[in-house]
């Protein structure tokens, strides 16, 4: 059981407030979808939870100890991170990118233990990349590349996963595939927070939805509690009718308010 606790986080950068008094918890066994319009503070929240940036006010703890006290390796063994921006400086092989996921366990592109090899092989087959394994990343399409980065994050097999728009640029089938993989990972004891822009996709897979707008959390609860026309209007400024059936949630957005 691993958890990240964010307590009263306020984040200011160059006079702009990116997060205002935000508190939440990310823990094993729960899939959280973080939703909200562009510029709401979703990525900033994830970066704070990872310790990539330090909040102006407030504390972030991992299993009770402040995140800044953890060594980079110890932190990476608990938290795997998939950033929104995924530059690739060199056209390295697909398998090598995925193998980088084992960095925190001493693995490298040239040296992998049997355990590392197994984790890499599983991530590659889970993300449907077996056919590309030996190709250079410069020969892949945007969607294929996105799956390579997902596989890299999965290969770490860390108890917690922070993923910033993992399904952006993916076709529908692969969106469902990646979300099913994350769901499966959470069902087997992992914990995840995922930034998504597709709200019905979020509601279908997540246990909890965090609704953010203008640096604050507007609502935090299960899809059943929070999938309301009122919140859609308040957070996304759209008129929406929401319905739920056995096929999942459907959202009909009529017009911007």
């Amino acid at each position: 059981m691993t958890n990240i606790k964010l307590t009263n986080i306020t984040m200011e950068l160059k006079g702009r407030r990116l997060l205002s008094n935000v508190s939440t918890e990310i823990k094993s066994g729960e899939l959280i979808a973080l939703i909200g319009p562009n510029g709401a503070g979703k990525t900033t929240l994830l970066k704070c939870a990872l310790g990539l940036i330090s909040p102006t006010i407030g504390t972030v703890t991992v299993d009770g100890s402040p995140i800044e006290d953890l060594s980079p390796i110890a932190r990476a063994q608990k938290i795997s991170y998939l950033p929104q921006m995924r530059p690739l400086a060199w056209p390295i092989r697909v398998r090598d990118v995925v193998a980088l996921g084992r960095y925190a366990y001493g693995g490298s592109t040239t040296k992998l233990t049997q355990l590392d090899e197994a984790a890499v092989a599983k991530a590659i087959s889970d993300c449907d990349l077996s056919a590309f394994e030996d190709r250079g990343t410069d020969t892949l399409s945007g969607g294929e590349l996105a799956r390579v980065h997902c596989a890299r994050a999965f290969a770490a097999q860390a108890p917690l996963l922070l993923a910033d728009e993992p399904v952006a640029a993916l076709d529908l089938a692969h969106q469902f595939q990646i979300m099913s993989l994350i769901r499966n990972y959470v069902d087997h004891g992992g914990g995840a927070i995922v930034v998504l822009h597709d709200i019905s996709l979020a509601a279908r897979y997540a246990d909890r939805l965090i609704w953010m707008k203008d640096s604050i959390i507007n609502a935090d609860g299960t899809p059943d509690e929070t999938m309301t026309a009122g919140l859609m209007e308040k957070v996304f400024a759209v008129d929406a009718t929401i319905s739920k059936d056995e096929g999942g949630w459907s959202l009909n957005v009529s017009n911007a308010t």
Binding site: I73, P83, M85, P91, I92, D96, L100, A104, S108
Partner: protein
Amino acid sequence: MKDSALLLLLSAVSFAAILAACFIGSTVMSPDRLFAALFGVGATGDEIVLWEIRLPRAIAAFIVGGALGLCGAALQGLLRNPLAEPGVLGVSACASLGATLALFYGAAAFSSLVVPVAAITGAISATALLTIAAIHTSSVVTLILVGVGLSSFAGAVMALLLNLAPNPFSLSDLISWTLGSVANRSFNDIALAAPFLGAGLVFIVLSRRSLPALALGEEAAHGLGVDLKRTRIFVILGTGLISGAAVSIAGAIGFIGIMAPHIVRPFVGYDPARTLAPSAFLGGIILVLADIFIRLIPTPTELRLGVVAALIGAPAFVWIAMQRARTQ
């Protein structure tokens, strides 16, 4: 090709190149005379030519080329940019400025260690400045421009020293630092630089594993558990020590650090960590061959190694830059 096979091939070629450098020179030496001299049973004249002139020169060229190839590969990994290199980024220029200052103000008279230390200080200051610039901007262009600025500044101070130089003798001394050469180097010059090269190598080896992770960008690398601060400091210290030590042997020689990694990369799957060792070997080979070429062509005065390296390297630099512009 497996990395071990590649390294074996490169070390064989390195050995052959150094051996070839021992054969070639103003006195023609037949193989049997050369080998007799090599094993200490040759004529005294032959032994002096081999052990005092040709072998130290060939080994100096190999070490300097290797150092520059390694530094190029390491800096390119850290800055995620194939155009980064001690020469282009002004690191070598600042190192020769350091060495020149030490010579000009007579500090070199106190100890033979003063020149290498001054060169390394120059190199580390330049590398640190570049890395600070790299943290603040992700723009490749900005970084190269900072390098150009550093080069120009070091060049301007050198010109000032030339201007103020009291006599022609010190003038030629100053010129030799800017043009770069391995002529008349002794094993003593190499031994002085060796501890710094060794220390630098340790830093590079310690940061080796982090370089491929940096290929994913700094955020992802942080997430993977890379200690970004430590990696930056180690690569700066490592490349500063190594390129500074190289400059203290041969003066400023540019572009080797761009050519060697660029040629090696496709053979190692573009992996920045696996690029390091083969780049070092190839850099060494290129410089040994360039030095043989200098000695072979009949020019009134011997060409400077740095001049030849720039004549081959600068067009290669432009070509790589244009290739990049096309793919981006």
